[in-house]
């Protein structure tokens, strides 16, 4: 019998404790959590109160090293293909064309001063496949491939999730390929007929275009 | 600790010595039914050669007062393609009694091979054996409920075999997408 009453007593007290806690939160609802990021020194001074974020208008600030959407700075890309090989989900597609000797200057150098030896007509990243593991970034020799802190890049069409970073258009790529073949043929000829020369290379194509963002906006 | 094992080849670490001691007890009892002890530093193991005795060995390992391997930590199926065999690797330990651990390998023929089930000895083995069957297709004799566990029941082939060819369609769905 005493257990019966002690049960009633503990039930009442514990329920009352719980009710007190929720009521305290109810009256604390006048406060709201601030929008400081975790890297802010005052972060823990503003965590009291309602903590909802109204998403599209308010976002959790992403820290600088956040690893979200992949971005390739094609100007620095040397087309080494390492990221493609390292990617566990195979979300990167790369096609490269060797730069002919006379184009080296046009192709330019990376910001690190390395001579680029490859045209990269196709550098597609399927960010819908990408699992943001960061392995490709870690193997990139010129640090041109980075995970940007842009976390929200939803699209209505999954095709738009494929980002094109290539630095040549299709026509230009064709031209470069032809040129490379010509050069090869020329070299072969040169090797064959040791004395022959004067096979003038094809006329120079248009200078290197800017990285072409296709689909939606692809860069930052 | 077991991480520091520079002298792995010559000197056995305390952990391996413990395993060796446990193995000696089993060897003493079962003799040629078990293979020599493989004293590698990362996972010391022995192999059960006479697979028919596997359940007896298991019971002995569990109940012997000097062994008391009351916990099966893991049971993994392995495909030994070169040997033409399938096998399981079981990791044992003794919770609350001793600190020794040991691994045991049991192998069977690739096609139509079977291994006695130890799910009556350790309940853990029940689902693990089902998983090994699901992935490799070796049959566990005496298993109470040997069905596929992770793959659908009407899946064809055993996915983790090295020569596994994925089926083209499954209920009209193209499989290798």
């Amino acid at each position: 019998m005493s257990e019966y009453f002690s049960n009633i007593k503990t039930s009442t007290t514990t329920i009352a404790t719980g009710l007190a806690i929720t009521l305290r939160h109810f009256f604390n609802a006048v406060k709201r959590k601030g929008d400081a990021g975790i890297d802010d020194a005052d972060f823990f001074k503003q965590v009291d109160g309602l903590c909802t974020l109204q998403y599209p208008r308010e976002v959790i600030p992403t820290p600088v090293n956040a690893r979200y959407r992949l971005y390739n700075n094609i100007d620095d890309c040397i087309g080494c293909n390492q990221c493609d090989r390292a990617c566990p989900v195979e979300c990167i597609t790369i096609e490269t064309i060797k730069v002919t000797a006379d184009d080296l200057a046009v192709c330019g150098k990376t910001s690190g001063g390395q001579q680029k030896r490859m045209w990269v007509p196709v550098f597609d990243i399927d960010v819908a496949k990408c699992m943001t593991c960061g392995i490709c970034v870690s193997v990139c020799p010129t640090d041109c491939l980075v995970h940007s802190p842009v976390a929200d890049f939803s699209e209505f069409d999954v095709k738009n999730m494929v980002y094109h970073f290539g630095n040549l258009s299709k026509i230009e790529a064709e031209a470069k390929k032809k040129k490379l073949e010509l050069e090869k043929v020329a070299k072969a000829k040169a090797a064959e007929a040791a004395a022959a020369s004067g096979a003038a290379p094809a006329p120079k194509p248009a200078p290197k275009p800017a990285p072409k963002p296709a689909g939606s906006e692809a860069g930052e | 600790m077991d991480k520091v094992m520079e002298e792995a080849g010559n000197l056995m670490s305390p952990m391996v010595q413990e395993s060796k001691a446990a193995y000696d007890i089993i060897r003493e009892r079962f003799g040629e039914a078990v293979s020599e002890f493989d004293a590698n530093p990362t996972m010391p193991f022995f192999e059960v050669i006479d697979t028919a005795k596997w359940v007896d060995i298991a019971l002995f390992m569990r109940d012997n007062s000097r062994l008391k391997f009351n916990c099966m930590a893991c049971l993994s199926g392995v495909d030994y393609l070169e040997e033409g065999k399938l096998g399981i690797v079981c990791n044992f330990e003794s919770i609350g009694n001793f600190t020794h651990r040991i691994a045991v390998k049991v192998k069977c023929q690739r096609e139509g091979g079977s291994i006695p089930s130890v799910s009556c000895v350790w309940h853990t083995a029940n689902w693990h054996e089902r998983e090994a069957y699901d992935m490799y297709g070796m049959v566990f004799d005496g298993h109470p409920d040997l069905r596929r566990i992770l793959c659908p029941e009407d899946w064809t082939g055993f996915p983790l075999r090295k020569d596994y060819q994925v089926q083209e369609t499954y209920h009209g769905i193209k499989v290798p997408y």
Binding site: G18, L23, F26, N28, A29, L50, C51, T52 | -
Partner: protein
């Protein structure tokens, strides 16, 4: 019970009003509670509950539709109206359709005897309280019909649980209300209020006049939670066990009907609680010397204000409990009913009788 002359003046006048032989007045009398339920369920019931739960959980609640999300309920209703009204092929169609209707009618009929103000009551029955307790139980039929008619295992579980629960909890609830009836000496709803009103405000309420009244008050409150399937007694619709209980298969307006019925009976039990123990439309403010607060805050309009405020307060407590407590199990629910509440209700009954005779 004969009513004092100032009582029921509005409703009497309205019900006498006819238009070309058509009793328009009666229709209006019936429409007022209906409109009230709809409005209250829309505002306080759905929106209020969302906001209250949100604030208790450190959330914001609905914020998108309208300023502070106040139009959220309208958006929900629009959504429910647009939804396809699915009747499963294997369902018992008649029971499936009639279930929510019975539930709603049950909770709505009880409003007939609810005195909204001194001057307004649907029907001043002399067995008003008895009628209210009886008619609310009609919901059980609706729940069972919908649960059985859905032909869904979860729904059946929910329905059976619900019936067992509601039928059991009728007993402590009725006995607790009987204590109130003894104190008032009547079963007429208006009379409850009349005897509890007076110049000293809340001191005339049974809860404060009679020390024993606390016991039936608490017993009735707990039982009313169970009767309306509110947490911690929401086992018929326990979402983590039975998906959605007896209304698992419902969609569209039929689903909305369940909600309306639930909120209707929530207000109903809260109003009964406040009428029986807290004076209903009587003002709780006392006359202090020359400051005649009580006289100032009594009257038909003030009466409506007080009874709705009291009802809403208890609804708030119901929500507060819901968002704090875990759910009971079926057997624990029955234990609480038969081994705790019912004996205590009997004790309260006897004590009240003794108090009424000797004090």
């Amino acid at each position: 019970m004969s009513s004092s002359p100032s009582l029921n003046t509005w409703s009497d006048a309205l019900s006498g009003f006819t238009l070309g032989g058509f009793p328009l007045g009666l229709v209006i009398v019936a429409a007022i509670p209906l409109v009230f339920i709809a409005l209250y369920a829309l505002t306080y019931g759905v929106y209020g509950e969302r906001k209250i739960s949100a604030f208790m959980q450190d959330r914001l609640g609905p914020m998108e539709v309208g300023p502070w999300g106040i139009l959220q309920t309208l958006a929900d209703i629009l959504k429910l109206l647009q939804k396809e009204d699915i009747v499963p092929t294997v369902a018992d169609k008649f029971l499936f359709v009639i279930g929510p209707l019975i539930m709603f009618v049950g909770s709505f009929l009880a409003f007939a005897v609810l005195p909204f103000s001194p001057a307004f009551i649907g029907a001043d029955l002399n067995v008003g309280l008895f009628y209210a307790v009886g008619i609310v139980s009609l919901e059980v039929v609706g729940i069972l019909a919908s649960g059985w008619g859905s032909n869904n295992k979860w729904a059946l579980y929910g329905a059976i649980r619900s019936v067992a629960q509601i039928v059991s909890y009728e007993i402590p609830a009725s006995i607790a209300l009987l204590c109130g009836a003894m104190m008032a000496g009547s079963l007429s709803m208006q009379h409850f209020n009349v005897v509890q009103s007076g110049p000293y405000g809340f001191l005339h309420f049974f809860l404060f006049k009679n020390p024993i009244a606390w016991l039936p008050f608490i017993i009735y409150f707990i039982s009313s939670l169970a009767e309306t399937n509110r947490a911690p007694f929401d086992i018929p619709e326990a979402e983590s066990e039975l998906v959605a209980g007896f209304f698992t298969e419902y969609s569209g307006m039929k689903f909305a009907m369940f909600f309306l019925a639930e909120y209707g009976s929530m207000f109903m039990v809260s109003a009964v609680l406040s009428i029986v123990f807290l004076g209903g439309w009587a003002s709780p403010l006392p006359n202090i010397g020359g400051l005649a607060l009580n006289d100032m805050t009594n009257g038909p309009v003030w009466g409506a204000f007080w009874i709705i405020t009291k009802g809403f307060f208890f609804i708030f407590v119901q929500m507060w409990l819901r968002w704090t407590l875990p759910r009971l199990r079926v057997d624990q629910l029955m234990y609480l009913c038969w081994k705790v509440l019912t004996p205590f209700a009997f004790i309260a009954f006897v004590l009240t009788a003794i108090w009424e005779i000797y004090m």
